[in-house]
Amino acid sequence: MTEGNHSPSTDSLWDRLQAFTDARIGLGCTGVSLPTHQLLAFQMAHAQARDAVHWPLNVEALCEQVMAIESPFTIEPPLQLQTQAADRMTYVQRPDLGRVLSSESRQRLHQQTEQPATASDLAIVMVDGLSALAVQTHAPPFLEALLGELEADEHRDWQLAPLTVVQQGRVAIGDDVGELLNARAVLVLIGERPGLSSPDSLGLYLTWGPCRGLTDADRNCVSNVRPAGLRYPEASSRVVHLLSESFRRQLSGVQLKERTDDDVIEHKAGSKNFLVS
């Protein structure tokens, strides 16, 4: 375990195991402390994650990518919205402001949709959250997978509300948007707080009957959507399953537990608990 005193088999072991996890295993030590190169590698990762928090969403580019999605659904240009958190420092310290649309954005929603808005099944809301990078990178390909599955759904002819993009938003902004769009359910695609190993993790939150004042107990979450985490097709299947159950039972949240035959995540061939097998 001492640095510089690894046996070849120990090094080889940790190399192999690192193929199965991004966790910082097998770091070695000097005394009981971290070796210098590991200490500095961590500091660099933290520096990059700090920078990611402040990286702004390129809304125009996101909208273009979304409109380029090939789908049987008609994709209008997403409506661009802002919350009451005017900038990043305010956003970080005032989650309450990130849950409410600015009055301009509210008006904009009113102007650009019929009033009262035609009832729809689902409002999809893209939100920068704490990692704009996640939404920028993963929202379009995830959306493509999701729209494909919704279109193929034999049980329901899905009516989508206009797509929206919200800057400086929290998860609950979906309640505000969903209510204004008169949607029966809302799906929020939001950048999760950046981790050291995953500055680009996308979170998906489903809420039945969106309206202001709902709590986390009213939502269902599918987390860590990115190629190195939960991949787009699997994430999309989970969401469609949750949506179907949500519509069948007219609810979401704690009472709507995830249940499917493939509930347990399947892993790449050969993944097993080697400590006991």
Binding site: T21, P194, H267, N273, F274, L275
Partner: protein
């Protein structure tokens, strides 16, 4: 309700509209109280509030209830469960006197244990607000809370760790790799506890099975826990899963717990169910709770209270159900509640103090997120301070990086640092196991073996792509 409190400073009179406001204004500054709009407006107002608060008799907290009895089942539990006999020795004290008494030589570990049922969380929160960090450390270090399941947690001079082998897709090999890494650094005596990537019953059962097999095969004197919703664990127990500890995130108001999807009855049912399995060998503490300042406000369930008072009330919930472990996840919630390293450190020490004073086996997830103004140096400071304060347990994770929850907590290395620098040891049963397994080469200190111990080396032929002669 709505009694007014005041303090006169020279010609200036400060008035506080109710005990909740007085408590909030007396709280050392933090972003969550600013967000809630309950923070003192000036530094002088804060100290004036602390002075007024220090004159409030402890008895007042039994009459002037911060959240009405009719509105909140936790208030009812606190008031109905208050023990007047245990309270008698301190019943004549004010908050300020109480601080003096706690620091005095009269307040020995035994005496502190005897008055616990007479202390309400509001009293604990109030006195903490007029204490400096060193006071919080000093008094906490005198509070001894011992619990047991397959080993003994909380003995003086011991620091335990939760081995937290989280993986973003719950990959079995990935989780096993982190467990092996942690065990080889002497981590995992508090619990091996996984936050599942997917929160459902079958997934939780799969992880329970995985950890149970490891614990059985290597005869590790520790316990496992999957940090899934309490109702999921109840279902898993019904389906025959090997459940050691039942987990739940808890808060200090009925409304927050309701937003988490449970109430006190649910917890009672869960404790009974876990006890019925009779899996503990050293003791019967079967619950694992997590808390953290700011959770009530984040669900708008704080009733106008400051976040630290809400947090202390969560420990009253915890102690009702005889937990093995209670963990304040202090820096996880983010900078809107605890802005920077200074606020996180203060909150960690307050939580540990209040928990210990009320009698819960308090550990701390010494942690921060990437959007907080904090870094590893702040965590080193809090870890060291908590080690001195006699903290029950901390987290252990490979290289401080939780790749599933996306935050930084203490590493396996950090725990070894604290143990070596402060002369602290793992739970005795676990320490014996570490020595027998050849993980620690010296029973008297955490000296690590340079080689993989024999029993683990035999299993490594099972690692995909590794041959046993590799």
């Amino acid at each position: 309700m709505s009694r007014t409190y005041s303090y006169t400073l020279g010609r200036k009179a400060y008035r506080f509209d109710g005990l909740a406001q007085l408590m909030a204004k007396a709280t050392p500054g933090r972003s969550g109280d600013r967000l809630a709009g309950v923070i003192a407006l000036t530094a002088e107002e804060r100290v004036a509030a602390q002075m007024a608060l220090s004159d409030v008799p402890l008895k007042t907290f039994l009459e002037d209830l911060l959240i009405p009895y009719e509105d909140d089942e936790i208030t009812r539990m606190i008031i109905d469960g208050h023990d007047p006999e245990a309270f008698a020795p301190i019943s004549h004290l004010t908050v300020g006197d109480f601080r003096n008494w706690l620091l005095s030589d009269q307040a020995t570990p035994d005496v502190l244990a005897s008055i616990r049922p007479g202390i309400t969380p509001e009293m604990a929160a109030a006195v903490s607000k007029v204490m400096r960090n060193q006071d919080l450390i000093m008094v906490a270090s005198k509070c001894q809370i011992q619990t047991a399941f397959r080993n003994t947690i909380g003995l003086p001079g011991h620091l335990s760790t939760r081995l937290q082998p989280n993986h973003p897709t719950d990959d079995a090999t990935g989780i096993a790799a982190s467990i092996l890494d942690g065990l080889l650094y002497g981590s995992g005596d508090a619990v091996i506890g996984i936050n599942p990537a997917r929160d459902n019953v079958p997934q939780a059962m799969k992880l329970m099975q995985l950890m149970d097999e490891v614990i059985q095969k290597y005869q590790i004197p520790t316990q496992s826990c999957v940090l899934t919703h309490v109702t999921n664990t109840l279902e898993a127990i019904e389906q025959g899963a090997p459940v050691d500890l039942v987990f739940q995130s808890i808060g200090g108001t009925e409304a927050i717990n309701s937003s988490f999807g449970f109430n006190l009855n649910t917890l009672a049912e869960a404790e009974d169910a876990a006890l019925s399995l009779n899996r503990g060998t050293a003791g019967n503490n079967v619950m694992y709770f997590e808390t953290g300042q700011g959770s009530c406000l984040s669900a708008n369930a704080h009733h106008g209270l400051d976040q630290q008072t809400c947090e202390a009330r969560a420990y009253a919930v915890a102690r009702k159900f005889n937990p093995l472990l209670v963990n304040t996840v202090v820096g996880f919630i983010g900078p809107e509640y605890l802005f920077d390293g200074k606020e996180i450190i203060r909150a960690g020490l307050e939580d540990h103090f209040c928990g210990k004073l009320l009698g819960v086996p308090m550990g701390c997830d010494v942690c921060y997120t990437n959007h907080a103004e904090a870094d590893q140096d702040d965590m080193d400071n809090l870890l060291t301070l908590l080690g001195v304060a006699g903290c029950t347990f901390i987290m252990g994770i490979p290289g401080s990086d939780d790749i599933m929850l996306n935050y930084q907590t203490t590493s396996f290395h950090d725990a070894l640092y604290a143990r070596r620098a402060l002369g602290l040891r793992p739970a005795p049963e676990f320490e014996r196991w570490l020595t027998e397994m050849g993980i620690f080469t010296d029973a008297n200190g955490p000296h690590l073996n340079d080689l993989i111990p024999e029993q683990f080396a035999r299993s490594l032929g099972n690692v995909p792509g590794v041959t046993s002669n590799d």
